[in-house]
């Protein structure tokens, strides 16, 4: 197992009924780097992300086969403790989904799942994660307010803080800024840069500029196949495959 590789996806196939959504996908995701998965809509990038923390379990139509190795564990193995597994990863969805509680409790909930019970610890860590998500300054006096009162951009950062609170090693983000205004998007992107040091990030996006800005490593997909993967300079400046070139030029949708 390569020391530098956090996640290794091998021969991943996903079927939805007769539709072959992911076809023999093989990907390496390096540790402590931002890996961007990009491609036109329908290429399977969101499904791939959902495989990584086995949210695919929620959808009975999806049949998943193959291997996903995270630190020598094949997470697709049915015997794995799925709850512990999911705590290894934080998820940021396209739309923020704050829990129906106060801001404080959103984070506290995640901390309690981790087993942290002491009030002092919870307080301390809540501040820490809110800071990490660049949200602390804005809401420091509003901790006991319902999370529903926050703006969308703030909600998304709250979800990020909450995701960090389970102390993951990997962060999965599915088009996290597509519902946000430019300023909030900027906040999120800056936060991702800071997080790179301590976490492995996997980001799905269809915004080429964002990919260029954030990525260290790029995976380009099209209709369920991995067309090309490599470092950002390799893929963006010297694309090997024709399809990649077309996508980068904008001749796809």
């Amino acid at each position: 197992m390569d020391d530098l590789m956090k996640i290794q996806v091998r021969d991943l196939n996903v079927f939805a009924g007769k539709n072959h959504i992911l076809k023999d996908v093989n990907i390496d995701i390096p540790k402590n780097k931002i890996t961007v998965i990009m491609g036109p809509s329908g290429c399977g990038k969101t499904t791939l992300l959902k495989c990584l923390n086995r949210l695919t379990d929620l959808y009975p139509e999806l049949k998943v086969s193959g291997q996903i190795m995270i630190d020598d564990n094949n997470i697709l193995d049915a015997r794995e403790d799925i709850y512990k597994l999911r705590q290894q990863m934080g998820l940021l969805s396209q739309r923020p989904y704050p829990l129906p509680m106060t801001i404080y409790n959103n984070i506290a909930y995640a901390l309690k799942l981790r087993g942290i019970r002491k009030r002092r610890e919870i307080n301390r860590l809540t501040v820490q994660y809110l800071r990490q998500a660049s949200l602390w300054d804005e809401i420091r006096t509003r901790l006991r307010e319902p999370a529903s009162r926050l703006s969308i951009g703030q909600q998304q950062r709250l979800c990020l803080a909450r995701g960090l609170a389970v102390n993951p090693e990997i962060i999965l983000a599915d088009e996290p800024t597509s519902a946000l205004d430019p300023i909030s998007s900027q906040f999120i992107e800056e936060t991702f840069f800071k997080l790179k040091q301590d976490y492995t990030l996997v980001l799905v996006t269809h915004i080429l500029r964002q990919a260029r800005r954030l990525a260290d490593h790029v995976v380009f997909m099209y209709l369920g196949d991995v067309i090309e993967q490599g470092s950002v300079s390799d893929v963006f400046d010297n694309p090997e495959m024709e399809k990649t070139r077309q996508y980068l030029k904008g001749t796809f949708n």
């Binding site: 949210l55 998820l91 989904y97 829990l99 909930y109 799942l113």
Partner: protein
């Protein structure tokens, strides 16, 4: 437009307005009748005293036995149904989300049971009581009524729980929650107002139904004081007072009907109020 078409157009439009107004007018008549007749016979005595001997023939007293009896019975039945119903509604929406066919089957069974008339439950409850040699009692009434309102409660809760977006479930699982935590801590909080409405709706049905308590709860002139003794209920109290040959007693029946109707209306208003109070933490997706 041809003349015949125009006539047809106007004719049906008039008919429709007539229908809609008919409903509103009838509602107004009902409310007016209940209130007018009820208030005339209402007195402080009615709601604070139990019936004295010969109450149904004109002697003094009030319907406190029935008021407290109904409240106790309906309250108990609602709680029982809640403790059995909420888990089922959550189970269907959270645990069984993968098994769409099974969920469909369960919802179908729920629909079947939902339509069963309350007197069937009453008869069933009665035969069980006879079988076990039990007397009519508050407990028997509570159990029977709770069975009756169980499908109503589950169905209402199910409607609300269905609207929770799957993204919220995903977010909860992504944090490492297991299924029952997602169900009991997250779904419930998101749907509080809907759950409150379901409970109060069921309470209203429970307190107003006569057929299910007729054979099972019995009747008494005393206040409820034990689970194993018969208890008075408002619907039956109204019925017995109406059956009296004495006009004054019949008039008291109207007041009793007013009391019952007010309790139910209050529960309904309450449900809207409580719902709004817990609304603040709900996320609007």
């Amino acid at each position: 437009m041809k003349l015949s078409r125009k006539i047809e157009e106007y004719f049906f439009k008039a008919l429709m307005i007539l229908s809609a107004s008919f409903i509103l007018v009838i509602l107004a008549i009902i409310i007016y009748t209940v209130f007018e007749k009820g208030i005339r016979s209402m007195s402080w005595e009615m709601v604070t005293q139990i019936p004295e001997g010969g109450y149904y023939y004109g002697k003094g007293g009030g319907i406190l036995n029935a008021i407290l009896g109904s409240l106790t019975l309906a309250f108990g039945a609602t709680i029982l149904a809640f403790f059995l119903g909420l888990p089922v509604a959550l189970y269907i929406n959270v645990f069984l989300i993968r098994h769409k066919k099974l969920v469909g089957l369960i919802r179908f069974l729920l629909d079947l049971v939902w339509g069963i008339p309350s007197i069937v439950y009453g008869a069933f409850g009665f035969s069980l009581m006879v079988f076990f040699g039990l007397q009519t009692s508050l407990l028997a009434g509570m159990l029977t009524v709770s069975l009756f309102i169980l499908p109503i409660m589950i169905r209402s809760m199910d409607e609300i729980l269905r609207t929770v977006p799957i993204g919220l479930q995903e977010a909860a699982y992504a944090l490492g929650s297991n299924k029952s935590e997602t169900a009991f801590r997250i779904f419930t909080r998101q749907s509080v107002s809907g759950i409150v409405t379901a409970v109060l709706l069921s309470f209203g049905r429970a307190i107003g139904d006569a057929a299910s308590v007729l054979f099972t709860a019995g009747y008494t002139d005393n206040l409820p004081n034990s689970l194993l003794e018969p208890v008075a209920t408002l619907p039956l109290s109204i019925f017995f007072q109406l059956a009296s040959p004495v006009p004054e007693v019949q008039a008291r029946a109207y007041a009793s009907a007013l009391v019952l109707t007010l309790i139910i209306l209050l529960a309904s208003l309450f449900s809207r109020g409580l719902g709004k109070r817990y609304h603040k933490t709900k996320i609007n997706f």
